[in-house]
C-alpha cells in the first residue's frame, strides 16, 4: 500500500511539475466544455440558407418564402434554376427551392427542393425543418379552403331548413283549403226541386204577384241549381290539389334528406377535416432539453476517450523513455503494482477532468445532476474512463516511440468515434458491422451515460452494457500486465 501510494505521489508530482501537462489536464476539458456548451446550448438551426427560383413568383410562393425567412432560414432569390442547384454544390446555399411558375393552389406542379445528400448530418435536419415550414403554410391554405367549404354547407343547411319549413307551411295551407272546399261542398249537397213549387202554384192557382214570385223563385232555384252543378264540377279540382300537396310533401322529404345528410356530417371542425389524424411528438426526455443536453453524454465519453487514451499512453511513453524506468524494473516491486499505480494515477487525472467538466457544465448551462443518478453515473463514467485508460496504457507499452503511439491513439479513437452514433447513426452501417460496432466501448459508455443522464435509468436497466464494459476492463488489465512484461524485454533490446 505504501508503495502504491508512493507511485501515485510520484506520478502526480511529475504531472504537476510539468506546467504544460497540468495546464492541459485542467484547461483542456474546461475549454472544450465551454465552447461546446456555448455552441450547442440551443434547439435551433442557424444560418441555413435557402436559394429559391421561379419563372414567375406568385403571391403563394412569396408567402411560402416569407414563412421560411420568418424562421431561422435566410432565403435568397436566385436568377436561374441551374445557379440555384449549383449553389448547393458550392455550399452557398443548403437547399434550393424551385417554385412552379405562378404557383397557386390550383397548380398541378410540385415545389421542388434540391439538397446535397453528401452532407448527411445536415440534410435531413434541414429538409425536415423546411418541410415542416412548407407544411405549415400548406395547412394554413387548406384550413382556409375547408373553412369556406364548411361555411357554404352551413349556409345551405340553414337555407334548406328555412325553405323546408315554408314548403311545409304551404302544404298545410293547401290541405286546409282542400278541406274547407270539401266541407263547403258537402254543405252544398242539397236537392233543389223548383218543379214541385210550380206544380203547387198551379194547384193553388196562384196568380199575380205570388205567381211572379214563385216564378222568380223558381228561376233563382234554377240558377242556384246551375251554379251548384258548376261548383260540384269544380270539386273535381280538389284531387288536383291533393296531387300538388303530395308533390310538396315529396319536396319536403327531399329537403329533409338533404338536411339529414348535411347533419350527418359529424366532423365540422376545420382543423379536424384538414388533418383528421393528429400527431403530437412528445419527447421522452425533458422538454427544455437543448442540443447540449442531448450531446452531453457523447461529449463526456469523447473527453474520456481522448483524455484517457492520450494521458495514459503519454504517461506510459514518458515512463518508458524515463531514465528511471530501468531502476523501476530492477526494484523488488511487482509489475502489477506499477500497472495498478499508473492506472490509478491516470484515472485520478481523468476524474479531475471529469470534475472540471461537470463544474463547467453547472456554471455554463446551470445543468445539475439529480442525486438519484449520481452513483450510477460515477460507476459508468469511471468504468468507461478505465477502459480508455487501459487501452492507452496498452498502446503506450506496445509502441516504441511517442509519435507512433500518438498515431495509434488517433487511429483507435477515430475508429471508435466513426463506428458510433456520433458521426452517423449506427443504423446506416451494414448489419454485421453494426452488430460488431455494438461492442464498441465508446457506444457502450455513451449509451449507458445517455440512459442515466437523460432517462435516469437504474444500473439494472443498463446491466448488459455494464457487464460488457466490466469484461473489457478485466481483459484489458490482464493484457496491460502481460504487455508491460514484454515491453521490458523490448526495452532492453
Amino acid at each position: 500500500m505504501n508503495k502504491l501510494f508512493e507511485i501515485l505521489r510520484k506520478n502526480i508530482l511529475l504531472l504537476t511539475r510539468s506546467k504544460t501537462s497540468a495546464l492541459i489536464v485542467l484547461l483542456g476539458p474546461l475549454l472544450l466544455i465551454l465552447l461546446i456548451s456555448t455552441a450547442f446550448n440551443t434547439t435551433s438551426l442557424y444560418d441555413i440558407k435557402i436559394g429559391s427560383y421561379s419563372d414567375e413568383y406568385s403571391p403563394l410562393s412569396e408567402s411560402i418564402m416569407e414563412q421560411l425567412s420568418a424562421d431561422e432560414f435566410r432565403v435568397e432569390k436566385l436568377s436561374s434554376k441551374d445557379i440555384c442547384i449549383n449553389s448547393i454544390k458550392t455550399n452557398d446555399v443548403h437547399v434550393c427551392a424551385v417554385f412552379p411558375s405562378g404557383l397557386s393552389i390550383d397548380s398541378k406542379e410540385n415545389i421542388e427542393f434540391y439538397v446535397d445528400t453528401s452532407r448527411m448530418n445536415l440534410v435531413y435536419v434541414v429538409l425536415n425543418s423546411v418541410s415542416s415550414r412548407v407544411s405549415t403554410k400548406s395547412t394554413e391554405l387548406s384550413t382556409a379552403l375547408t373553412s369556406t367549404l364548411l361555411n357554404t354547407i352551413e349556409s345551405t343547411d340553414s337555407k334548406v331548413s328555412e325553405g323546408s319549413s315554408t314548403i311545409t307551411q304551404v302544404s298545410a295551407n293547401l290541405q286546409q283549403i282542400k278541406n274547407d272546399i270539401s266541407d263547403s261542398l258537402s254543405v252544398l249537397e242539397l236537392s233543389l226541386n223548383a218543379s214541385d213549387l210550380e206544380d203547387d202554384a198551379v194547384e193553388l192557382n196562384l196568380t199575380g204577384d205570388a205567381g211572379t214570385l214563385i216564378s222568380s223563385y223558381q228561376k233563382l232555384v234554377n240558377e242556384l241549381d246551375e251554379s251548384l252543378t258548376k261548383t260540384l264540377g269544380a270539386a273535381s279540382s280538389i284531387s288536383s290539389i291533393e296531387a300538388e300537396i303530395k308533390n310538396v310533401q315529396v319536396a319536403i322529404g327531399l329537403l329533409s334528406e338533404i338536411k339529414e345528410r348535411i347533419n350527418s356530417i359529424e366532423v365540422k371542425e376545420v382543423s379536424k377535416i384538414v388533418s383528421p389524424i393528429r400527431t403530437e411528438i412528445k419527447t421522452v426526455s425533458s422538454e427544455d432539453s437543448t442540443h447540449f443536453t442531448y450531446t452531453f453524454p457523447i461529449l463526456l465519453v469523447i473527453v474520456l476517450l481522448f483524455s484517457g487514451l492520450l494521458v495514459s499512453s503519454t504517461a506510459v511513453m514518458e515512463e518508458k523513455s524515463s531514465k528511471a524506468f530501468f531502476r523501476n524494473f530492477i526494484t523488488p516491486t511487482s509489475n502489477a503494482l506499477f500497472v495498478v499505480g499508473n492506472f490509478i494515477s491516470n484515472l485520478l487525472i481523468v476524474i479531475m477532468q471529469i470534475l472540471v467538466i461537470f463544474l463547467a457544465m453547472y456554471i455554463f448551462s446551470r445543468a445539475s445532476i439529480p442525486p438519484g443518478i449520481l452513483v450510477n453515473l460515477v460507476i459508468i463514467t469511471i468504468l468507461t474512463a478505465s477502459i480508455f485508460i487501459l487501452i492507452g496504457m496498452l498502446i503506450g507499452y506496445i509502441f516504441k516511440s511517442g509519435e507512433t503511439s500518438n498515431l495509434a491513439v488517433i487511429t483507435i479513437a477515430s475508429i471508435m468515434l466513426f463506428f458510433s452514433n456520433t458521426i452517423l447513426p449506427l443504423e446506416t452501417l451494414h448489419p454485421t458491422v453494426m452488430s460488431v460496432a455494438g461492442f464498441n466501448p465508446f457506444i457502450l459508455g455513451s449509451e449507458s451515460l445517455k440512459e442515466i443522464l437523460l432517462f435516469n435509468a437504474p444500473l439494472s436497466a443498463i446491466s448488459n452494457q455494464f457487464y460488457i464494459l466490466l469484461g473489457y476492463f478485466v481483459v484489458l488489465f490482464i493484457l496491460v500486465l502481460s504487455v508491460r512484461g514484454v515491453s521490458k524485454r523490448r526495452y532492453i533490446e
Binding site: N2, K3, E6, R9, K10, L13, L14, R17, S18, S322, K323, A324, F325, F326, R327, N328, F329, I330, T331, P332, T333, K488, I492, E493
Partner: protein, 313 residues
C-alpha cells in the same frame, strides 16, 4: 577459502540470434571493487543486466551467496544496487523525492527512510541540494544522486555500469573516491564496468577482461600485468629532448614493439626492456646525450588489455 559472493556459470545470452555472451564463467569475491573491462559491445552491460535479474540468460546460471538468482530473483534483488550508464532517476522530482520514491520501491520502511536519507545525502555530498530538482543538478551531482538511489536500501552489491562516462577528470576522481568510501564504510561489494582503464587501476582490487563474448582473464590488476603483458615500458627523458635520431635507429629493431614521443619524453615498449635499455643508454653515451630521467615500468593495464584483445584477434 570462502565461496565467491557472485558466480557466473556458463552464461550464454543471445539477442535476435546474435550471441552476446558465450559461456561466461566468472567469480566475484566478497568485499572487492571488481572492474569489468571490455570494448564497446563486448557484453559488459548485458552481463550486469543478467546479474540484477533484468535479463535472463539462455544458458547458465548466476549464483549469489550460492543461491540461484533465477529462483530467488525478487528477494535477491533487494541485495543489489544498480546504476546504469545514464542516471536512473526522475529529473522532475527533487533529490529527496527521488530517494523517498526509490527507497519505498526497495521496501525501505518510511521511518527508516527518514533517518537514512540525510545519512546517504551526506555520504554522497548532496545534503545541500536535497530540495533541488534532479534536472538542475550538475553531471557529477546527478551521478552521485544515482549512486545514492542505488545504495539507499543497503545493498550487499553495488553495480555500476560506466559510472564515470561523460564526466570530466575531476568529477571522475570524485566519483571513484566516493566508490572507495562506500566500499570501505558500508562494506559493499562493488562491480563496475568501464573502458577507461586508468580508473580500473585506480579503484579496482580485481579485474576481468571481457572480449569476444566471454571473459578472457580475471584477477588483480598486478597479476594480470605480470602474467599477460608482453612488453615493458621505458620512459626516457634527455636534456636535449631530441629523439628523432634514436627513433630512427630503433625503428628497425625487432625487439621494439612501439615508440611514442610525448611531453618531451620518449616511451618505448619492448618485450626485452632491460636489454633494450642498456642498448639505448650505450647509444646515448656514444652521442654524448645527457640523460635527465629514465624509468623502466611494468606494463599498464591498458597494455595488458590491448595485448590480450589484439592477441585474440
Amino acid at each position: 577459502m570462502n565461496p565467491p559472493l557472485i558466480q557466473f556459470q556458463n552464461i550464454t545470452k543471445i539477442f535476435n540470434k546474435k550471441v552476446i555472451l558465450d559461456n561466461v564463467n566468472l567469480d566475484i569475491p566478497y568485499g572487492e571493487i571488481f572492474g569489468i573491462i571490455g570494448k564497446s559491445g563486448s557484453g559488459k552491460t548485458t552481463l550486469l543486466s543478467i546479474l540484477v535479474g533484468f535479463l535472463k540468460p539462455e544458458r547458465g546460471k548466476v549464483f549469489f551467496q550460492s543461491q540461484d538468482l533465477s529462483r530467488f530473483t525478487n528477494n535477491i534483488r533487494q541485495q543489489f544496487g544498480f546504476t546504469a550508464q545514464e542516471g536512473s532517476f526522475y529529473p522532475n522530482l527533487t533529490v529527496r523525492e527521488n530517494l523517498e520514491y526509490f527507497g519505498t520501491m526497495y521496501n525501505v520502511p518510511s521511518f527508516i527512510l527518514r533517518k537514512k536519507i540525510p545519512e546517504i545525502l551526506k555520504l554522497v555530498n548532496l545534503a545541500e541540494s536535497e530540495n533541488k530538482l534532479a534536472a538542475f543538478l550538475s553531471s557529477g551531482m546527478k551521478k552521485r544522486l544515482d549512486i545514492a538511489c542505488a545504495i539507499l536500501h543497503d545493498p550487499k552489491v553495488l553495480i555500476l555500469d560506466e559510472p564515470t562516462e561523460d564526466l570530466d577528470p575531476i568529477l571522475r576522481k570524485d566519483i571513484l573516491r566516493l566508490l572507495k568510501r562506500i566500499n570501505k564504510e558500508k562494506n559493499v561489494t562493488i562491480i563496475l564496468t568501464t573502458h577507461l582503464l586508468d580508473e580500473i587501476e585506480y579503484v579496482c582490487t580485481r579485474v576481468a577482461i571481457l572480449d569476444k563474448r566471454t571473459v578472457l582473464v580475471s584477477g588483480t590488476a598486478s597479476d594480470l600485468k605480470d602474467k599477460y603483458s608482453k612488453n615493458q615500458e621505458i620512459i626516457l627523458q634527455t636534456y636535449s629532448g631530441e629523439y628523432k635520431w634514436l627513433m630512427k635507429l630503433l625503428e628497425k629493431n625487432k625487439l621494439i614493439e612501439d615508440m611514442v614521443e610525448r611531453d618531451g619524453r620518449l616511451i618505448i615498449y619492448s618485450p626485452k626492456a632491460e636489454g633494450m635499455l642498456r642498448f639505448i643508454l650505450h647509444e646515448l653515451e656514444k652521442k654524448n646525450e645527457r640523460v635527465q630521467d629514465v624509468d623502466l615500468n611494468k606494463p599498464s593495464l591498458s597494455e595488458v588489455f590491448e595485448s590480450l584483445t589484439q592477441e585474440d584477434e
